[in-house]
């Protein structure tokens, strides 16, 4: 078995250690003897994204964000929509999450059009929402916690076609108002959570890997791994945030 992982714009969208997500995906596949190839996909590169088994997009500084929005629309837009239609699992964090939505409304009132892959929209907020965050999610079918760190000024609101990734137990989440964080639509997860997200939340990593493998090879059962370290790092933050 073999997976091809595409890391979108790693040169520009690499804020807050989000490459940890790609490392986690690759390692947890390798540890199960699943071959992995991680490919960087940069600005202006025309590629067929539906040929990938898993995609990741992170967040960047404002200036880079504008560059990427343009590239997504003019260069990779159709290809990414095809990939999503074909069920390629995609994880989008922070800026990448916002770019997949319908629009981002700047503080000036101007709207930057997004890709519309997720039924969400984002508005600039006055105060940055910064801090540790804990969610409760049912992504994998059973209730579990998600831990990480959020740092965003955008306020994201969900439409009817997406479900939140989870309920906020501690922290701000999508918009700091409705008590939810992230979005799930089909095989796409969008979230504000850094940390990096995947290493300390191995169940989400495995969910993404399972979606990727199933799409390619049909029904699969992932081999169990020893997650003691990940679990203890996870629990430390759950305890700290909820006590």
């Amino acid at each position: 078995m073999h997976l091809r992982i595409g890391h979108l714009y790693p040169e520009h969208l690499n804020l807050y250690g989000d490459r940890g997500n790609v490392i986690a995906l690759a390692k947890r596949a390798e540890w199960r003897s699943i071959g992995v190839m991680v490919e960087s996909i940069g600005l202006n590169e025309e590629v067929d994204l539906s040929q990938y088994d898993l995609l990741f997009i992170g967040g960047g500084q404002d200036r880079d964000q504008t560059l990427i929005a343009k590239d997504l629309k003019l260069v990779k837009g159709n290809s990414l929509l095809d990939a999503a239609d074909g069920g390629v699992p995609l994880l989008a964090v922070c800026g990448g999450y916002q770019l997949l939505g319908k629009y981002y409304r700047l503080s000036t009132g101007e709207e930057v059009e997004g890709l519309g892959l997720l039924d969400i929209s984002t508005e600039a907020g006055a105060k940055r929402l910064i801090g540790n965050i804990v969610l409760e999610t049912e992504l994998t079918g059973e209730k579990q916690t998600v831990v990480g760190f959020e740092n965003h000024s955008g306020r994201t609101f969900l439409g009817s076609e997406v479900k939140p990734l989870g309920k906020v137990l501690s922290g701000s989440g999508n918009n700091g108002e409705d008590g939810f964080e992230g979005s799930v639509q089909g095989n796409i997860i969008g979230t504000y959570i850094h940390g990096s997200l995947l290493p300390k939340n191995p169940k989400i990593t495995d969910w993404l890997l399972t979606r990727a493998l199933e799409r390619k090879f049909g029904q699969v059962q992932l081999q169990e791994l020893n997650d003691n370290l990940e679990e203890s790092a996870h629990q430390v933050m759950v305890k700290r945030s909820l006590s």
Partner: protein, 466 residues
């Protein structure tokens, strides 16, 4: 009124000392409340004020400038406790009020630059470099650069800014319309060092002018090197630069410096390319304010590391066996990579202890662990690694995913216990890489054991001997 404010400030500083705590911000805070004009007033009493800002190396560089000034016989003051917020800086001036100082050299937190320049109106500002650091505090690197730029725009006519030519983010500060200022660039000549082996995920590798990736003819560390861009932006030619270099590993460098004041050789006792940059920056500043070469050379030779900045100590295990211990503060990916690049060969031979907290002064977001190139360490390391601090488990996870087997990761969150376990495990040398508050905690533990002095004690001793 001003005099009363100073007296109150001095009394508060005395009280702070008495309780033995190193807090140096709140005396300044109180005095500023009582008399908002206090800092402009006090800094005017000093003939020349120098500000040192930038992400990495402020403390070491500032200390080096201070010792160059004093070696050359000038009366000088500096904020020696690493208190680099406007309140801590005010405390420093209050404390030194009454001494007739020709120079004040102060490290300034980047976010405090606007206030510091406005109130102090310095003759010289040094900007060392910009790296990602404590992003949750500043939002983004671009904003930090913007804050410093804003600070520079408030400088009085005729001031000098001293800039690192090898850091594009810093260099560009000196390449716009700043006709009323003098600009001095410093850097390394391209043939003095090899390219770095550590992967860098810095966000400074793209041109600020046009967004293209820089082309690096030479890459010394992180995003520092000889770069140019297709739009025409390129590294400025420095006037103060290292023209020849002998790398002596963990005992430092022998460097030939070329400058308008002549060519001379300095003996730098600190290891690491970043320390080479720190000392070079200090030399560039010293030359700018006409410090004679003899004073500069003497001061460089005597450079000691600040606590936790590559400091070497002899520490005993509980059985009384002595091990050489090297402590080096790590606070961001570039700094971490640089320390590991310098020490890698040694670290993999003996015991490593990484201690990371996530308190405010450390940066609460620990996502940056994932930007450190631990993969290179994992390829070479074969010993156990001890991890400690509030985020010990997170560091363990990072190292596991870098390729270090779980059996070789020893997780001991409690810092003092981790220190003892690591000392036991060390064959002859222990390398400790702590985050900022973890470093303070270690210092505290060692002070209680009588193995290092408190900051204030060391300072008093220095003042008496001066």
């Amino acid at each position: 009124m001003r005099f009363i404010a100073v007296l109150i400030g001095k009394a508060l500083i005395f009280l702070v000392r008495l309780t033995g705590r190193g807090g140096s911000n709140w005396p300044g805070k109180v005095v500023r409340k009582l008399f908002p004009g206090i800092l402009p007033y006090l800094s005017l009493k000093v003939e020349k004020n120098i500000l040192v800002t930038g992400t990495n190396g402020k403390t070491t560089t500032n200390k080096a400038i201070y010792s160059m000034l004093t070696q050359a016989g000038f009366n000088a003051m500096y904020n020696n406790t690493g208190a680099n917020l406007i309140t801590g800086i005010t405390t420093a001036y209050v404390e030194k009020y009454g001494q007739k100082n020709e120079f004040a050299t102060l490290e300034v937190d980047e976010a405090n630059m606007v206030m510091a320049v406005r109130e102090i109106q310095p003759q010289v500002v040094l900007v060392t470099n910009f790296f990602r650091d404590q992003l949750d505090r500043y939002g983004e690197l671009g904003k930090t650069v913007q804050l410093v730029k804003e600070g520079l725009s408030l400088l009085p006519e005729g001031s000098t800014i001293v800039l690192n030519a090898d850091d594009p983010l810093t260099a560009q500060l000196g390449m716009q319309e700043i006709d009323k200022l003098r600009v001095v660039f410093y850097g390394l000549q391209s043939n003095v060092l090899r390219n770095t082996a550590f992967a860098d995920v810095s966000d400074a590798r793209h041109c600020l002018q046009c967004g293209e990736s820089y082309v690096y003819e030479k890459n010394f560390y992180a995003h520092l090197g000889h770069y140019h861009c297709s739009c025409g932006f390129r590294r400025p030619e420095p006037t103060v630069f290292v023209s020849r270099l002998e790398d002596r590993g963990s005992s430092g460098f022998l460097a030939e410096i070329t400058s308008p004041q002549g060519i001379f050789t300095v003996d730098i006792p600190l290891p690491g390319v970043y320390n080479l940059y720190n000392l070079l920056a200090a030399i560039a500043v010293a030359l700018t304010v006409d410090v004679p070469l003899a004073g500069i050379k003497e001061a460089v030779r005597g450079t000691g590391a600040a606590f936790g900045r590559m400091e070497r100590l002899l520490l005993g295990t509980q059985d009384g066996i002595t091990k050489e211990t090297l402590i080096s503060l790590v606070k961001n990916p570039a700094g971490f990579n640089a320390v590991m690049e310098t020490l890698l060969e040694e670290i993999v031979e003996d015991q490593l202890l990484i201690v990371v907290n996530d308190l405010d002064a450390d940066g609460r977001d620990i996502s940056w662990f994932w930007d450190v190139d631990f993969e290179t360490l994992a390829q070479k390391a074969s010993n156990e690694i001890v991890v400690s601090g509030l985020r010990a488990q997170d560091m363990a996870v990072r190292l596991k995913y870098a390729g270090i087997p779980e059996e070789r990761l020893v997780v001991v969150p409690e810092i003092e216990k981790a220190l003892d376990i690591s000392l036991e495990k060390a064959k002859s040398r222990l390398y400790i890489l702590p985050s900022y508050t973890a470093m303070l905690k270690l210092q505290d533990v060692l002070r209680k054991r009588g193995q290092v002095q408190g900051y204030w004690k060391t300072e008093k001793k220095r003042m008496r001997s001066a």
